[in-house]
Symmetry: C2
Subunit: 451 residues, 2 copies
Amino acid sequence: MSKSEQVYETVVQAILKEEWRPGDKLPSVRCMGSRLGLHRLTVLKAYQRLQEDGWIEVRTKSGFYVCEKSEETKKPDIKSPIYKDDSVLYQMSRALIAPDLLPNRHLSGDVKQLLDLEPRLLGTYSSTAGDLHLRESLADYLLETSSFYVSADELLITSGAQQAIDLAARAFVKPGDHVLIERPTYGPAIEALQEQKATLHPVDFTENGYDMNQVEHLMRTYRPVLFYINPTFHNPTGFTLSACQRKELVELAEQHKCLLLEDDVCHDIYFDGPPPPPCFFYDTEGVVVYIRSFSKYISPGLRISVMMARGDRLAKLLRIKAMTDNGSPLFNQAVFRHIFFTDRMQGHIAKLRLAMQLRKVCMEQQLEGSGLTWISPKGGLNLWVKLPPDWAADMLIRHSLKASVSFLPGAICDPWDSSTPYIRLSYSYLNEKQLAEGMKRLLQAGKMLQP
Amino acid sequence: MSKSEQVYETVVQAILKEEWRPGDKLPSVRCMGSRLGLHRLTVLKAYQRLQEDGWIEVRTKSGFYVCEKSEETKKPDIKSPIYKDDSVLYQMSRALIAPDLLPNRHLSGDVKQLLDLEPRLLGTYSSTAGDLHLRESLADYLLETSSFYVSADELLITSGAQQAIDLAARAFVKPGDHVLIERPTYGPAIEALQEQKATLHPVDFTENGYDMNQVEHLMRTYRPVLFYINPTFHNPTGFTLSACQRKELVELAEQHKCLLLEDDVCHDIYFDGPPPPPCFFYDTEGVVVYIRSFSKYISPGLRISVMMARGDRLAKLLRIKAMTDNGSPLFNQAVFRHIFFTDRMQGHIAKLRLAMQLRKVCMEQQLEGSGLTWISPKGGLNLWVKLPPDWAADMLIRHSLKASVSFLPGAICDPWDSSTPYIRLSYSYLNEKQLAEGMKRLLQAGKMLQP
């Protein structure tokens, strides 16, 4: 956090803990500055942000005051960075794997070895598509592990799945185009598609997958250019589309010439057995663009994902990738190539699966008998939990943040229903002891909402 | 190169060397495949690309033929990847610093040390704006070296300057907006602005800088939202805008509310003394967004650049950056932070300046008396060279490629004049011996064009 962000947080925490109540006057900028030993411009910047975010208000010639809006009606901005705030002790808002579960020490050793083997690496650019050795190794790996027939020429290395989604949105979606998207879904994908001025049509994703009649109806009616899907350990629900529906979806997409943008970021984090093959596997006409990310569970510090596309789809992606960053940094690609295709790494992934499953079970144990309901996922990093009728998600987040617990309100994943009773709880970032304490605090916060 | 690219290159080389002449029939896909030991789909893919690029044509039920267009009229695609082709021996098309001039061995040692100090680095995400420690160190460095008053909150770390240009184009330019751009300029900047559907107006950049009357007229007439400038060791010309014109430009921009997007990628590569302060230095109203890149001369394998913007401009950039890749990889930022702010690195930069100047002088010696003219730059990586009247750039590139010499035809930097007599020769990628041989071959190729 920068100094100005620290001031922001200090004030927010004081308001949440009710040390400062609505209508209270804040210390002047100058006074706060000397109290914290900071320049007054730093404090002013924080106060301005607090004002923008609706925490405080300015009264001319008088100073800054905590907003009068009663706490019960004030809705926090669900996009506020507080969900990513490192000062929250029990973070269940982050679908990230705790850094201490990643094989960092081993990775460091491997990086050192690589630098001895390839001393000019830091001085060399990548091609736009990415390091050819890495692409060839990935093509071999995918053939071996998933029976994918894909050549290095059909792969594009990206800096994380987020970049891949953005590239596809820019390459394939024009203003006014119709686009299908799962409901609920990954929030930033909505943003990337809206940035292209697409008209979005939600497709419900339930425990039983899609209603294929709905999909067909939407494809027939709107002729969408693209359908963004996350069929494997779906974020946020954890649901997985059956092999049967995958085939059916690919056929529909081929028939209606609708590109399927398949996002697969937790493929290896399964609990009972591997998931069905990706839709890309069933595609014979180049209608699927597939994103496979390793960033979350191998090395978030490197941000390596790979996109697969056939024919002129790849050419279009490459044009945008060249514009975006001229190719992902070579160093990261070489490190990934050096560390990923080893038995040790495959052993790490197996251990990680187990650790994630244990954490999931731990979270579920805490939820038992709480009145909250969920469907146990077969992989991934999240539970999609339905709150009891009298627990409003936006009130719950305010109370739980007071107890230093964060989660993702469902409305971020389902903007079509701002009062959705769902929340997303990630079990991947906290260890079992922390999870138990965090869940206890969350449920206590919830009980305070009951009449 | 992938296998399919190898086939492509084999055929192009054979055509350039006139082993295969216009009208000649190529070996069938099957035959070529078995000759080269490749799958016929690989060959087919190469043939298809050759056809798209106008090298060969298909005659139904007969096969593939070298295009009939006479060599003298066929214009090669100036965006063809052949300019980046590693198989060309004398590459003067690349404004890159040769990897062996970068302090790779030392860097490797530093990276190893860093991994011992911060073992969880590979497992950790960056924030969207970038590593706070790096931003704070950069703010201090800029204050110390350039008297910049900029805070860490006003900095955004990007993956190279290319990404910074793209972010700014997306954040600040809407379809139909008017935008000013130098002529000539950096080709990919044109593409990024055109991608936003901007209407571009060229501003001539000469040895004497801009015609400020032209700038004022354009600002008054079109109310442009943005002016993309590269005032320091400008690519491709090498020209530098005077301090006086910088001040004047900032004033004009403030007056007309036109954002100046200032690209500064070779700031430290000066020959006679440091360049004037960036326009950003003269800006008091937040009208300049400044891109400072270290990627080219510290570590192209890391791709670290930094963008500076005030107030809500930075917020807009952060929104796009989050969509683009959620923040540049942390590992790269940490490595850069660990290696850059050291005396040894400053010593490296001083040596690099000298090496670049020696290479520039070497290239200029070869050009003496050749009939080609240029203005000697005071920094940067390129000469902007005017060809004699009977040397057409598009013919010269064909002949020079036969001699394994590449350069950048001026039309890539000046699309407003497709028959511009200028070419860009980069002296940064070859050593002095290679430069002497490359220039000899280039001048020989040119002489073949004379009547």
